[in-house]
Symmetry: C3
Subunit: 370 residues, 3 copies
């Protein structure tokens, strides 16, 4: 075909134009106050730098205030004390949360087209219990003895191993692999390509070769957990790898065997947590962090991006660097690094000057003795 | 079976021997000059350390010149001024490009055995438009409302979500997952296990739990883009995540929501680009780099391996380190690090000597006052 | 359903209780000596912090000795010289290996429920040779000309490309993608989501765009190799990417084109090895390491976690840091970093004091001249 996108664009435009509200209507929705013309029509949402005419945007951070003068957006959500002028504004206490609220309204107009029903190519094993209203897309494979809750959605190519259990309302995207004897809670979202229940990485050295330690444990994932694309979570050697309820994990993360993660944590992309490490609740881990094995991390800890954690972190600490230390101390280390190239030169210069002084002084001392 | 490889080896050898050209023929192909016997037969290609009798190799970098004396290769592509002797040589201005040219000839004899036709196990939704000569291998799943261009090849287990669009001549390898409303250009190559269109990682804190910010945006991937195995690209929160035409992305890379990458960039393996960051054109990013969110990177920037980029980089800059700084400055920092262990000792020694001098001098000063 | 887990828990408990041995029986199994009551029943295994009543645990490392006082385990494997008391003990020379031995016994009671037979949804190409007792689960796709050895198990959604070969007794978990002309040895374990044979990342710059270097090589994986979930191994540009027998690779690892890895290496999670690098035998690489391209690494090398290797490493070396250097030297660099924030201040203070001394001394020197 000449240009597949053209036929597609018509489709897409049709879809996106399904939202059309006035600034006044949106202000009511978020409990905000209109400054300017409340009849302006809003048909989409966007970031302040990308927004076009007809779109709503927001300023959630003073850093973005200067863009108020240049954005093409037709209206802007701002805090009342932001000092914004010359635009159609909706003033609201927390512009970001208000934007999320409008996004939800918009999302309701752009629902995810989940598959429905049980496709005829699905292969389900013996002794499997399927809940009400389960959706199984093409080429799903569920092994024997599984339990699948109500309203569960499994996209194409999902594999669920023997005796595994998936809680009510959980959605699992395409080509996810769940091994045997894994428990997954309710209302979880598991993105495409995720692997849950692969063998932990355990080998004992025997005469110069590596003897595989059997990985007979399992994994228990709580409710309301989200797991990002192509993330891998290993089953326990024995016992259970645990992901607490409400915890959100980003793409390409690795969770080792027997790791235990508490509730309501956030683990950003490409982070690795090595075996048997225990992480508390409400812990925030930025991207590309590494955490060594058998480490204890308390509650409400924050770990900055690219940190390498090698030892225990007490509750409430903020750490960064490798090896990770208190963030304020690490900032001074990093600042010191900037001055590092000049230090050897300065020390060498001091050594020269002091040498000179010592010679002068000892020369004089000798004179005095005369 | 006793040894599966033996039956296989026969097959393989049969295939590899399908290239057989003389050094003279290859010299004509690359516009080079033969030094030695042009009738020598060449049946394969290899690196200078791995090459066997009958194979052609090349020296593209002076670092490899010493191997000219030891390689078993039957002929070598070299630059005319390389000072090479004692071998059957093909002298050519750019030996690497000449080698690639011969590789192409060889590749034409080793075509990738793409699937053809539409397999009976393929499941295609309603209102899907398939171009001419489309190849869909076993267990492919295409959801409703998709547009698939001419000559597109989808390998086994590929999933294409609702209302997505794939441009002409694009090849998608096995078990790739493409979510709904994604646009992919022409002549793209998407390697196995890639995920395109997973939800961005966006959560708003509400009373100690994480509220999911709907991810209703999409992704637009240009023409001639290549994406490496098990890479994950997140859809925009709203608006569009963009990968510019001609950009090449390696394996296990993460691209966050609302990231915009320009044309003809190269992004090496295991690199992560966090949300809303904008990267210009002709940018080269080495392996295991991390780039923070909301960062602006200009055109023609080079980012060294394992760098951590935390702030804007102007066009044309070369940066390295974490936090990434000008590469020349960073090299001095790294050199300084090597001398770091000795510095505290030298400073301590200076403090001792100056203390002694001060005591001596003040003692003397006191004497003088007498 | 009200709670899918409840119906599942009954199943699970039934399964786990299938091990029940006395401390005396287990002591015989591992060649140990019972201190205490040999009739105590053991129905499970666990780590010393997680173990419950009825479970066996072990102390393999003195660091865990303090937990002997608090563990709920019913018996503990310990070294005879550990000084442990007040518990039912099994004294044995190597408690960790003894624990693995019991784990194996336990594993024999918890076998992995591999699929069996050839499912009717499997699609096998022409000229494919299948060994005896091969198990192919639902939606497996094997392309033309493949050779699959005896007792091979391919889980659901596995793809095997044209002319590839899989050795006897190898197990490949769900949604693994193996491209064309790949050789895999006997008794390998390949975890879910792995990609073997994706194109190497090779592009030549031509007039501001990137020209794809054909990747016509292959991969040879030895016997007894294990490859972790979502790992990606690229085929050679030409020639062969090699993984030696007995080598174990963890999750989310990237192996570049033309890499050669020796036998019995261990490569931990999220490590990347760039193109054409050669690694010897018995090399241990910890997690999140990066190794640059065209680097030579000897035998018996150890590379610490998060190291970045940029140049050759001789056999037997232990390295760490980025750029990776001798581990002992690196430890001094890291220790120096801790003192870095105070150094500029101390140097500045020295400069001030020496300035003062110089003024005093030269003032005096001038006086003397009077």
């Amino acid at each position: 075909m000449d240009n597949p996108r053209e036929s597609f664009s018509a489709l897409e435009e049709n879809r996106v134009s399904s939202m059309d509200k006035s600034v006044g209507e949106l202000a009511s929705l978020v409990g905000g106050v209109v400054v300017g013309d409340p009849s302006v029509r809003i048909t989409g949402l966007n970031g302040i730098q990308q927004a076009q005419r007809g779109e709503l945007t927001f300023v959630g951070n003073r850093r973005y205030l200067p863009y108020l003068g240049t954005t093409a957006a037709s209206a802007v959500l701002v805090a009342p004390d932001a000092g914004a002028t010359g635009r159609t504004l909706i003033e609201v206490k927390n512009p970001y949360l208000a934007f999320v609220r409008v996004l939800q309204e918009y999302a309701a107009n752009t629902p995810i087209p989940h598959p429905t029903g049980i496709h005829e190519t699905v292969v389900v094993g013996r002794n499997v219990s399927l809940g009400q209203n389960v959706a199984l897309d093409a080429h799903v494979r569920i092994a024997d003895n599984c339990v699948v809750g109500d309203n569960v959605v499994l996209y194409a190519g999902v594999y669920v191993g023997d005796s595994s259990c998936i809680g009510n309302d959980t959605v699992i995207y395409p080509n996810v692999s769940i091994r045997e004897r894994i428990w997954i809670g309710a209302r979880c979202i598991i993105h495409a390509g995720v692997v849950i229940g692969s063998d932990g990485f355990g080998f004992a050295p025997v005469n110069g070769t590596w003897f595989k330690v059997p990985q007979v444990g399992t994994i228990r994932i709580g409710d309301d957990v989200e797991i990002g694309a192509n993330t891998a979570i290993d089953r326990a050697t024995f016992g259970t790898t645990i992901i607490g309820s409400g915890t959100k994990i980003d793409n390409l993360v690795q969770i080792g065997h027997n790791v235990e993660i508490g509730e309501h944590c956030v683990i950003s992309g490409m982070t690795g947590v090595a075996g048997s490490t225990r992480i508390g609740c409400h812990v925030t881990i930025a991207a590309q962090v590494g955490i060594a094995d058998h480490v204890e991390i308390g509650d409400n800890v924050t770990i900055a991006g690219r940190s390498g954690v090698t030892r225990a972190i007490a509750s409430g600490q903020i750490v960064s660097g490798f090896p990770a230390i208190d963030h304020e101390t690490d900032k001074r280390v990093v600042a010191g690094l900037r001055r590092l190239p000049e230090l050897p030169r300065r020390v060498r210069e001091l050594e020269r000057r002091i040498q000179k002084l010592e010679e002068e002084l000892h020369g004089k001392a000798a004179n005095h003795r005369d």
